[in-house]
C-alpha cells in the first residue's frame, strides 16, 4: 500500500490530531471520542449542530466544523459509523440550552448509532432532534429497502442549517430548513477507480482499465452497474441526466450545481466536468445561481465524480450564500 499511513488503527486519530494542530485557535479535539468541535462551543445562543459518520469522506465532516457550519463532528473509523458511545458523549459535552440537532446520512449503521445516542441524550433531558439526509438517486427507493443514502448533497443541508443555527434559529426551524433542503437536493456518482482503505491495504474491488462503476456511494462499495469508460462529456451527461430527471428540473429552475471529487480526481478534471454539467443544465433552460467545484464528500482516494443539484428558492439561496469559516476553506 502506498499511502501516508503508520498503523492503520491510528489512521483516524492521527488525521484528527493533524487537523487539531493545524487549527489551534478554532478547533478542539477530544481523542477518546474522535470528537472535533468548535473552540467556542457549546453556546446557549445557538442550537448545537452535530454530524457524524464513518471516516474516509474528508473534508466531510470533521473539516466542516466552524462558524456557519457544524458545531461538532464525531467520526467513526474508515467507512464505519461511530460507536454509540462517541455520539452520546458528543451530545452530552456540547448540548446547548437551545438543543442539539443531529445530521445523519441515511445508512443503517449511522441511523442506529444516532438513534440510540439520541435516546440516551433525551433520557438525560437534552432536547435532541435528528435530520436524515438521503440525496442519492442511484438507490432505488422502496418500502422494502433501507432507502436512499446520503452522499455529497449532505453539504447543502449542513451549510443551510449551519447558517440558520448561527443566526439563532431554533430547533424546529432548523429541522424545517434541513428537511426542505434535503428534499430539494439530488446526487449521482461514478467511480473510475476503487479506493484503498488503510486497514485493507489494497483496492476494495477490482476495476478493469476500461470500466467504471456507475451509481456509487461514498463508502467505496461497488455501484449499481459496471460500464465502459466514456469521454468526459458522456460520463457527465449520464450523471446530469439521472439527477435532473429525478429532481424533475425544468425550464426556469434556479439551481445550485456541485461537481464533487471522490478523492483521487484532480481539481482540473472537476472544473472540466463542472463546465460540461453547467452547460447541459443551462441548455435545458435552468439558471445556475451557485457553483461548487472541489472535494466535499469523498471516498478516500477513489477517482471519480458526483454531481449534485439543488433546486433553489430565495430562502435556500440566502442560507447557502451566508458566510462560514471551516478548516479546509481558510488560509
Amino acid at each position: 500500500m502506498k499511502k501516508f499511513v503508520d498503523d492503520p488503527k491510528d489512521f483516524v486519530p492521527q488525521m484528527l490530531r493533524g487537523l487539531a494542530l493545524a487549527n489551534p485557535d478554532t478547533l478542539r479535539y477530544v481523542p477518546e471520542y474522535n470528537l472535533i468541535h468548535r473552540a467556542d462551543a457549546p453556546s446557549d445562543d445557538r442550537v448545537t449542530v452535530i454530524q457524524g459518520s464513518g471516516s474516509g469522506h474528508e473534508p466531510a465532516h470533521v473539516m466542516t466544523v466552524g462558524p456557519g457550519m457544524l458545531t461538532a463532528a464525531c467520526p467513526g473509523d474508515v467507512f464505519a459509523a461511530p460507536p454509540v458511545e462517541y455520539v452520546y458523549e458528543t451530545i452530552k459535552r456540547l448540548a446547548s440550552a437551545k438543543g442539539v440537532l443531529l445530521i445523519v446520512n441515511n445508512y443503517t449503521g449511522d441511523r442506529m448509532a444516532f438513534e440510540m445516542a439520541q435516546e440516551l441524550g433525551s433520557a438525560e433531558g437534552i432536547e435532541v432532534r435528528t435530520l436524515f439526509v438521503d440525496d442519492d438517486v442511484a438507490v432505488q427507493d422502496s418500502l422494502y429497502t433501507v432507502g436512499r443514502r446520503g452522499v455529497a448533497g449532505n453539504f447543502f443541508v449542513m451549510k443551510a442549517v449551519g447558517a440558520a443555527a448561527e443566526a439563532g434559529a431554533d430547533l424546529d426551524e432548523l429541522v424545517r430548513i434541513g428537511e426542505k433542503v434535503n428534499a430539494a437536493t439530488r446526487t449521482m456518482g461514478l467511480a473510475l477507480t476503487a479506493c484503498t482503505p488503510p486497514a485493507k491495504g489494497s483496492p476494495l474491488f477490482e476495476l478493469e482499465a476500461d470500466k467504471i462503476e456507475f451509481g456509487v456511494g461514498i463508502h467505496g462499495e461497488p455501484g449499481r452497474k459496471r460500464v465502459e469508460v466514456g469521454s468526459a462529456t458522456e460520463m457527465v451527461t449520464a450523471l446530469v441526466d439521472a439527477v435532473a430527471a429525478d429532481l424533475e428540473v425544468v425550464q426556469g429552475d434556479r439551481l445550485a450545481l456541485m461537481a464533487n471529487g471522490l478523492g483521487g480526481t484532480p481539481i482540473s478534471e472537476l472544473y472540466l466536468a463542472y463546465g460540461i454539467a453547467h452547460e447541459l443544465l443551462t441548455g435545458r433552460g435552468a439558471a445556475i445561481e451557485r457553483s461548487y467545484v472541489g472535494e466535499y464528500c469523498t471516498s478516500l482516494d477513489m477517482a471519480g465524480l458526483s454531481v449534485t443539484i439543488v433546486r433553489l428558492d430565495d430562502e435556500i439561496a440566502g442560507l447557502l450564500a451566508a458566510p462560514a469559516e471551516i478548516a479546509v476553506r481558510v488560509f
Binding site: 464505519a80 460507536p83 443503517t108 449503521g109 456511494g217 462499495e221 449499481r224
Partner: protein
C-alpha cells in the same frame, strides 16, 4: 448459578472474541465483495478490547459477564456491527438474568433473545441477507436437536456449527435488502453475507475448541 456456568460463558465469549480478532482481514474481505470492507476491522477493534478486559469483568453471574461484553462492544465497535452485536450480547445477557443453571433450553432462549433484539434494532427480516439468516436457522437446528433428545454437548455444538455454515452459505442466493450491500442490488446475489459467514466461522471454531472448555471431563480427548 454455578461457577461453572460463568466459566463456560467466559470460555465462549473468549472464543468468539479470539476468532473475530484472528479473522479481521478475512471478515473484511467478505464485506468488501459488495459492502464497504470495514466489517472485520470494526469487530476486531471491539473484541480485542473484550480480550483485554475480560479478566476484569464482573463474574458473579454469566448475565453480568455478558453485559460487560455488550458494553465494550457498544462503546468500541462502529458501523452497523456495533449496535447489532452490542444489542445481541445485551439481549443474551438479559435472557440469563433469572437463569441459575444454563441448560440447552436456556441457550436456545438466549440465542432467540439475541436474534429478536437484532431484528428490533436493525429491522431486518429473515431472508434480507444478514447474519440473522445464519443465526435463526442455526438456533432452530439446536432446538430441533433438543427435541430429538440429543444431550451430548459436543454433538450439539457441532450441529449448531454445521447449521450455521450451511445457512450462511445459502445466503449466496439471496439479494441483500439491508446494510451497505443492499445498494449493489442484483449484484449482491452470488456471494454470501459477510456477517452470516462470520457467525459460521465463529461457531466452527467454538466447536473445535469445545473439548478445551472448563470442566470438560477429558480436555484432550474431546
Amino acid at each position: 448459578m454455578t461457577g461453572s456456568s460463568v466459566d463456560t460463558v467466559r470460555f465462549v465469549v473468549r472464543s468468539i472474541a479470539t476468532t473475530a480478532v484472528e479473522n479481521e482481514d478475512y471478515f473484511g474481505e467478505l464485506d468488501a465483495v459488495v459492502g464497504d470492507g470495514d466489517f472485520g476491522f470494526s469487530l476486531a477493534r471491539g473484541f480485542e478490547k473484550v480480550l483485554e478486559d475480560i479478566d476484569d469483568y464482573p463474574d458473579d453471574t454469566a448475565s453480568a459477564l455478558l453485559q460487560a461484553a455488550a458494553m465494550t462492544i457498544s462503546s468500541r465497535v462502529g458501523g452497523t456491527s456495533g449496535p447489532i452485536w452490542g444489542t445481541g450480547f445485551l439481549r443474551a445477557s438479559l435472557s440469563l438474568r433469572d437463569t441459575d443453571e444454563i441448560d440447552l433450553a436456556a441457550v436456545v432462549a438466549l440465542l432467540r433473545a439475541a436474534a429478536e433484539g437484532i431484528q428490533a434494532r436493525g429491522k431486518a427480516q429473515l431472508g434480507d441477507k444478514t447474519l440473522l439468516d445464519a443465526l435463526i436457522p442455526a438456533t432452530d437446528a439446536l432446538a430441533a436437536a433438543d427435541a430429538e433428545g440429543e444431550a451430548d454437548s459436543s454433538a450439539l455444538v457441532a450441529r449448531f456449527a454445521a447449521a450455521t455454515r450451511e445457512s450462511a452459505e445459502a445466503t449466496s442466493s439471496l439479494r441483500a435488502m439491508r446494510g451497505r450491500a443492499s445498494y449493489s442490488g442484483e449484484r449482491s446475489i452470488g456471494s454470501p453475507d459477510a456477517g452470516a459467514v462470520a457467525l459460521a466461522v465463529i461457531a466452527e471454531r467454538l466447536a473445535e475448541q469445545w473439548p478445551q472448555r472448563p470442566g470438560a471431563e477429558n480436555p484432550d480427548a474431546g
